[in-house]
């Protein structure tokens, strides 16, 4: 294993990437002479009612047909503007359009901060993507944006959930009703990079995978890169979920409190003299139910079963060009379950902590920068006890990093971005059995990456984006280059034709179980364990036949080479060489996705359909044959609808249909009866691995909500929801077990088999 290296090497690698990044900007061609006659327009776009910056809002100069989208801090920059008088239009779905006229003089750098007024309260808009003609980022191939309003409005099992909402998008699948894991374009959950305020989150789940850790009250923006993601991101083969928490209300102090069946939430936010702050907390409220069940002497009731999470953020405007913020997340799950009168039992605890400090500095109207220091910690400490023998595991992941991003907009046709990300990943795994250490593993690895990308617009209807990301991972001393390329043509304002390619490397692998995500383990590359890599080819046709209506098609093909995962047959890792812990393999996936989205009107929503295929093979497993992983679905259809009835009433419906999951249907059996080790007869099944399909999955959920005033001092929202309306008994899996009469019995383990009601009541002060 890689032992801890000295600090100076870490500092050195960080400095190297900074120097490399700086070099990128030094070698950038200087602006042409005519640039002195051009003007620029920069600023932040905010929600007028809260002061929250808006990510991916659009700012356009009507005469001149140029514009820009705000970045992740709400900042936009339009350069190379010919002097003259323009109408500036700023737009964002769910907000009234902002228009103003201004005159820009030659060489002028104008700062224009824009406050957008929210549209009429109660009208839910912006479902998956934004829709303006020049909404650049969100209309790129493979990109989707999810508004938290939608997350909160969708019918949810007990608690609104960001990831379960993402699972409705085409190309994104769930493993089951009980899992919030994201299976995107044929990739497993570890192939998706999950960022919260630019910080990697290593196990974003509560209730052992039932739903994700992100509190929708605290979340401002969720952006999903399903594939072909740009060079500013890296480290995962498949996709990126980039989540930003709210900055806090800059206009007034507001409180929100929600009471739900499973959990309750509270959020408070407000301004102070030089910025804003936000604090949100959520905790399960199962204790009263558990107490009642315990009093009735029902077996198997946990002694303790809870989760909580806390989010906080504070922003400080140091100057017009310098803004700093600090944010944190912490969460924990706990299950303590005694069995057999305390002769046996389990005690499970796991959780995350993330913290980040962010500094945004605007050097000039042409150069924007953002620097972040991140810290992420994940832990799980499962303990098992049986007959006086204890098995304890302590599993910890630490990731500390620094990153910097630069946006350079020289006047002309280019927009150049670049940056670095360097950090230190540490993984510790300690097992004790019967009081003695049986495994003590420590993996520490420095990592660093630097990227540069250029967006070039040779003509008004062409956009070319090229990028290169270089990665270094100390575990095994790997250096890898990742080229990225995309091209977009707009034959008409309503039509975009897009294509892209990218090479991606992954230096980590997740060891997890779909049944239980509370003891996830991350392992890294090292000598003999090279990084996995893959190529992605994507193409898209994005259309907007009319305002507020999008019809999109995306095609993808991706490869996965050198996948490494813990050998599932390994019963004991003690003394096993690191490279022998793994099973190596390949994979591929391809498919097409259609999204029909109506963003406006009383009836809005989307229909998403995916026709897809994914395969895996591992060398030495099942004769090296390709097989369908369980999350492979040929057809996947999601229909989401919102109907605004008026008078504060809104109805929501969600329908899912998917091809049945792959499973293993046993075909023959035999018994081993003569073992000298013990008296047990061993039943053996022979089966073609994952070559059968469960019955098709389908389910409908509905919900209704009422918004109104509450006793004159608050607004309320009452949500009534019913999941699995028509009691569809979708199969989760079949369990095959030998019976005393020597037959094999198949038991069906269902997904949510009955209608489940949910009710929540929210007050906003």
């Amino acid at each position: 294993m890689i032992a801890g290296r000295s600090l100076h090497r870490y500092v050195l690698s960080s400095l190297q990437v900074v120097v490399l990044t700086a070099a990128v900007f030094f070698v950038t061609p200087s602006a042409p002479a005519w640039s002195q006659s051009r003007a620029s327009l920069t600023g932040f776009v905010r929600d007028a009612s809260t002061g929250e910056t808006l990510i991916l809002a659009n700012v356009t100069l009507v005469r001149g047909e140029i514009g820009a989208a705000t970045n992740t801090t709400g900042y936009y920059a339009i350069t190379g503007i010919e002097p003259g008088t323009y109408t500036v239009v700023a737009s964002y779905i769910g907000y009234s359009e902002f228009r103003t006229e201004l005159t820009l003089a030659a060489g002028e750098s104008r700062r224009l901060d824009i406050d957008l007024q929210p549209a009429e309260i109660g009208v839910l808009e912006v479902v998956v993507t934004a829709d303006r003609e020049t909404e650049e980022e969100v209309r790129r191939v493979g990109v989707a944006q999810l508004k938290t309003d939608l997350v909160k409005s969708l019918p949810a099992v007990l608690e609104p959930d960001v990831f379960r909402s993402l699972q409705l998008l085409p190309g994104v699948k769930a493993a089951s009703d009980y899992s919030s894991g994201l299976y995107i374009r044929g990739g497993s959950p570890d192939q998706t990079l999950i960022l919260l305020d630019r910080t990697t989150v290593y196990n974003p789940s509560h209730f052992f995978g039932f739903f994700s850790t992100f509190n929708p009250d605290a979340v401002k923006d969720v952006r999903l890169y399903k594939g072909g993601y740009p060079a500013e991101y890296g480290g995962r083969l498949g996709s990126v979920v980039d989540i930003y928490n709210k900055d806090g209300n800059r206009v007034g102090t507001h409180d929100t409190a929600s009471l739900g069946l499973l959990a309750s939430r509270a959020m408070v936010e407000g301004p102070y003299s030089r910025g804003s702050w936000m604090f949100a907390v959520r905790r399960s409220t199962l204790e009263p139910l558990l107490a009642v069940l315990k009093n009735q002497d029902i077996d198997g009731i946990p002694e303790s079963f809870y989760f909580y999470d806390v989010n906080g953020k504070v922003n400080l405007d140091v100057s017009a060009d310098d803004k700093v913020s600090a944010s944190f997340y912490t969460g924990r799950d706990r299950l303590s379950l005694p069995i057999f009168d305390d002769e046996a039992g389990v005690d499970l605890q796991y959780g995350n902590f993330t913290g980040s400090a962010n500094w945004t500095h605007i050097f000039s109207d042409k150069l924007y920068s953002n620097f972040t220091f991140t810290s992420s910690r994940y832990f799980s400490t499962p303990k098992f006890k049986f007959g006086g023998t204890e098995f304890n595991r302590s599993n910890k992941v630490y990731d500390i990093s620094t990153k910097g991003d630069f946006e350079f907009r020289p006047e002309g046709d280019h927009a150049i971005t670049g940056g670095f990300w360097a950090g230190n990943f540490t993984f510790r795994l300690n097992d004790t059995f019967d009081g003695e250490s049986t495994l003590s593993e420590r993996i520490q690895s420095l990592y660093a990456s630097v990227y540069v990308q250029d967006e070039y617009k040779p003509a008004s209807n062409w956009v070319l984006r090229g990028g290169l990301r270089a990665n270094y991972f100390e575990g095994g001393d790997y250096i890898r280059l990742e080229p990225r390329l995309s091209i977009e043509n707009r034959p008409s304002p309503q039509l975009r034709l897009q294509a892209g390619y990218g090479r991606y490397y992954q230096f980590l692998t997740l060891i997890t179980s779909e049944l239980f995500s509370g003891s996830d383990i991350w392992l890294t590359t090292d000598n003999g364990v090279p990084p996995a890599y893959g190529d992605q080819f994507v193409a898209g046709i994005k259309t907007s036949p009319r305002s507020g209506l999008n019809v999109d098609l995306e095609l993808y093909y991706r490869t996965m080479k050198g996948l490494f995962t813990l050998d599932p047959f390994l019963p004991d890792a003690a003394g096993v060489a690191y490279e022998d812990l793994f099973q190596f393999g390949d994979g591929y996936a391809y498919g097409s996705e259609v999204l029909l989205e109506k963003q406006k009107g009383k009836l809005n929503g989307f229909v998403g359909y995916t026709l897809g295929l994914t395969r895996r093979r591992y060398f030495g497993f099942e004769g090296d044959k390709w097989f369908s992983p369980k999350y492979d679905r040929t057809h996947d259809l999601n229909v989401v609808g919102n109907f605004d009835v008026g008078r504060g009433w809104r109805f929501t419906g969600v329908f899912n249909y998917a091809t049945g999951q792959a499973y293993t249907q046993p075909e023959s059996q035999f018994k081993i009866v003569d073992s000298p080790l013990g008296s047990t007869v061993r039943d053996v099944i022979w089966a073609p691995f994952n070559e059968s399909r469960l019955p098709a999955y389908h389910r409908m959920d509905i919900g209704a909500s009422k918004i109104g005033g509450f006793l004159g001092f608050a607004d309320y929202e009452l949500q009534l929801q019913l999941l699995n309306v028509y009691s569809r008994e979708n199969v989760w899996f079949y369990f095959f077990e030998s019976q005393e009469d020597n037959s094999i019995k198949r038991t069906t383990v269902p997904q949510i088999p009955v209608p489940i009601p949910n009710i929540s009541f929210t007050l906003k002060f």
């Binding site: 493993a175 057999f340 009168d341 002769e343 046996a344 007959g387 006086g388 059995f433 019967d434 003695e436 049986t438 039509l495 179980s513 779909e514 049944l515 046709i541 259309t543 036949p545 599932p568 047959f569 019963p571 004991d572 890792a573 003394g575 391809y590 097409s592 259609v594 026709l611 897809g612 295929l613 497993f621 044959k625 390709w626 369980k630 293993t664 075909e667 023959s668 059996q669 035999f670 081993i672 009866v673 003569d674 073992s675 000298p676 080790l677 013990g678 008296s679 047990t680 039943d683 053996v684 089966a687 073609p688 691995f689 989760w732 899996f733 095959f736 030998s738 020597n742 037959s743 094999i744």
Partner: protein, 299 residues
């Protein structure tokens, strides 16, 4: 309108293209044959006489599996000891005796470190074969106490000499057999779920999963110290502890068979096949070395 129509045509065309690509795409998953296969089972134990060989067939998954009905009684069975160059150094013939196959000469002893090949010729012309290399013999050197109190301060600790196996560390399976089982003698955790005399057989011998040698303390004299975990003790009273160093064939079979009913990192519903090293059939032809001792677990 013309643009909208062209858009729809483009979408439709692309969908058809991608759909046909999916349908015609190479997909090398294909079902295997499902006809009955021959199953062999036999274990060689270092320093002990050859044990019997069982030959049977698989049954369909919907059938009631009666082992007696599946036995193959008309096969020819032999085990060859192989020389270093792979040639046959010694051949041990077997004969059918009451539906199973026993060595003709029951005085022949399994040699530690030797490689053996099982060859089964069936009446229909099939040849089922498998090879195993026997782990090196080892012995119990000492034990810390002849009698211990259940969950007391002192656990049974056994010093054993090392077993040698090809180019890997030794892998052990531990079995604890009660020599005086009864419902009254069950330890508390086992008495929680064993309710009748009929169920006693299920825990008469408790068996550990495979453990690597590196789990155990290596002493300066070359021995290993192995402690008996309390969870393995199902009965008070006299117990026999058996440590078995197993070969690759048994290790692969045990570790793959144990997760057919779930566990490990497989998704629920995914059932991996057992890893066997049998050509022309399936089953287990494995070897081990073992050592044992008796101890007394007091209340």
């Amino acid at each position: 309108m013309r643009i909208q129509r062209s858009i729809l045509f483009a979408l439709l065309g692309s969908m058809l293209l991608s759909g046909s690509a999916l349908l015609s795409g190479c997909d090398s998953t294909s079902p295997d044959e499902t006809s009955p296969r021959y199953v062999v089972e036999s274990y060689l134990i270092a320093g002990e006489p050859f044990r019997r060989v069982l030959v049977s067939t698989t049954a369909g998954i919907d059938a009631q599996y009666n082992f007696g009905d599946r036995l193959v009684r008309d096969a020819t069975v032999r085990i060859d000891r192989l020389a270093a160059d792979g040639s046959t150094a010694e051949s041990i013939p077997f004969e059918r005796l009451s539906s199973v196959y026993q060595p003709v000469d029951q005085s022949v002893i399994v040699q530690p470190g030797a490689t053996y090949r099982l060859v089964v010729n069936t009446a229909d012309g099939n040849v089922v074969s498998s090879e195993t290399t026997v782990p090196g013999a080892f012995e119990v050197v000492s034990v810390n106490a002849d009698s211990v109190q259940y969950q007391g301060d002192v656990q049974v600790a056994v010093n054993i000499s090392k077993s040698v196996y090809k180019d890997r560390q030794s892998i052990f399976v531990f079995s604890i057999e009660s020599l005086d089982p009864s419902l009254d003698a069950l330890t508390p955790v086992y008495s929680s779920f064993i309710e009748s005399e009929d169920d006693l057989e299920d825990v008469l011998i408790t068996e550990s999963p495979p453990f690597n040698q590196d789990n155990y303390e290596a002493n300066s004299d070359g021995t290993l110290t192995i402690k008996l975990p309390w969870l393995a003790v199902a009965f008070y009273g006299p117990n026999r502890i058996v440590a078995s160093a197993i070969d690759d064939n048994l290790f692969d079979f045990l570790r793959s068979q144990s997760i057919q009913q779930g566990g490990s990192t497989f998704s629920p519903g995914e059932i991996p096949n057992v890893i066997t090293h049998v050509d022309g059939g399936t089953g287990v032809f494995a070897s081990m070395a073992r050592a044992s001792l008796q101890t007394y677990i007091g209340r």
